[in-house]
Symmetry: C2
Subunit: 247 residues, 2 copies
DNA sequence: TAACAGGGTTTCATAGAGTGAAACGGATTA
DNA sequence: TAATCCGTTTCACTCTATGAAACCCTGTTA
């Protein structure tokens, strides 16, 4: 049962160090060593390398490490003109203006989902959504959309992943996904965060492949279950229109 | 004369692979191997590692590599609330509205400068500036500001850097920097790019340390030398106001 | 149809690169 | 002055990253 990994350990470790900065923006060397479970001297060398290439910098005042400008440089080249997160922005803004709630766009990345675009509601009480956030695929309306409408192979692969939460009853969850598949959209009510609710619909490209989930989220007192089902047709239609904009 | 490098070679190479994506967004394995000068199999392993951690992905259609969503995740945590690029945005927009030219914010990163923020002119013909761009420190108004007002140690270190363009006459350049230091701002006319001109002024934080250069740039027929000197006081004043906003 | 070319993938022996324990140094606090 | 708590440096050992070569595709040329 030998798992042949064709990866480079030192690089894996360095990238794990970088990923520490996905939660919180400033860490000391020892803190990072604790987080990734490696010896101080190892982290020291990795950080020196990352710093040399501009991926991290040391804050002059606090002496702690933070992300460097190379990340900025790379992120500038992330979105291309045919990128969904750019192409779909106008339609997202239109939908936001129509419903006046926060609109997010999620894609699946292995066994998680990533928010690749968001436009905020204008209301005083609103869902605040940061682009780039990485969330579990096990809860939330968009998660269920990303699983329900995925290729069957993807769905079963994710559900049988060892990292999948064990307490979640697979039978019931799979049943729920089938219902969503039939309904064409998903809702969640205080599922991931108390006080928050969301409706999500799938976006397919022209060749019928699931590319993203479009979600409308807000406080649960405004987005009641009734209200969400009322919104659903508009969201499904908007998601459909977005699909036709993609290759 | 052994330079003791305390960095990790494999990680350096992996980061160099990532930095390939700072120019152009899509590369094949062999192309990358050519760019960084390593063997195909080495690049293959490094890319597999980067892909495993979500730093690159393969485009399903073209089979080429491009940046992954982990970059997006990290870039979301780049700008903090006390980040100049966020703090100074309103004032940059105000200045743009006043002069109706493109406004950029540059910081020095070792022997280069990086555009950390930009707001575009509304005119039909305008300077288009992408955030994150990395430019040489040897030409352009902002470059000269970043050097002229830097600590003397920094200035001489950069000017004597082996990578500094040899044809540039150091004497004359140093003289020019001193003039800029006296004037309080710098201009450049078709210096880096034909048809483009710029004025730049230094931004100091409350403790008097140079933190960034504020630049106004546009087509050289609008930004004539005369016009730039006319604009200068407004730009210097705006830069000064920005400085008071920073810690 | 065979030969070729140009991408990506896999294997493998070898050297030398990365590793972590421990010791060191420099702050800050008791 | 002792005691912490970081970050830095050193060093012997082992394991890991390396690149040459061979291999596998798919598409192109003769």
């Amino acid at each position: 049962m030998e798992e042949e990994k064709k990866t480079v350990r030192a690089v894996e470790r360095a990238l794990d160090v970088l990923l520490c900065f996905a939660s919180g923006h400033e860490w000391g060397l020892t803190e990072i060593a604790g987080k990734v479970g490696l010896h101080k001297s190892t982290i020291h060398r990795l950080l020196a390398t990352l710093e040399d290439r501009g991926f991290v910098t040391r804050d002059p005042s606090t002496e702690k490490y933070r992300l460097g400008l190379s990340i900025l440089e790379l992120s500038a080249h992330l979105s291309r003109s045919d990128d969904p997160s750019v192409m779909l922005l106008p339609e997202m803004e239109r939908l936001r203006d129509q419903l006046n709630e926060t609109i997010s766009l999620y894609v699946r990345d292995r066994t998680e989902r990533v928010r690749i675009q968001a436009v905020q509601s204008m209301q005083a009480i609103r869902r605040v959504a940061t682009v780039g956030a990485r969330l579990p695929l096990s809860v939330g309306a968009s998660s269920k959309v990303l699983l329900a409408f995925a290729d069957p192979g993807v769905r079963s692969a994710v559900l049988t992943d060892p990292a999948w939460p064990a307490q979640l009853e697979r039978e019931a969850f799979a049943k729920q996904l089938d219902d969503i598949l039939a309904a064409g959209y998903a809702t969640s009510f205080e599922e991931r965060e108390p006080g928050a609710a969301a409706v999500a619909a799938p976006i397919f490209n022209r060749s019928g492949k699931l590319v993203a989930a479009l979600s409308v989220s807000g406080p649960s007192n405004r987005l009641t279950p009734d209200r969400m089902h009322e919104f659903a047709p508009a969201i499904v239609e908007s998601a459909h229109r977005m699909g036709t904009m993609l290759g």
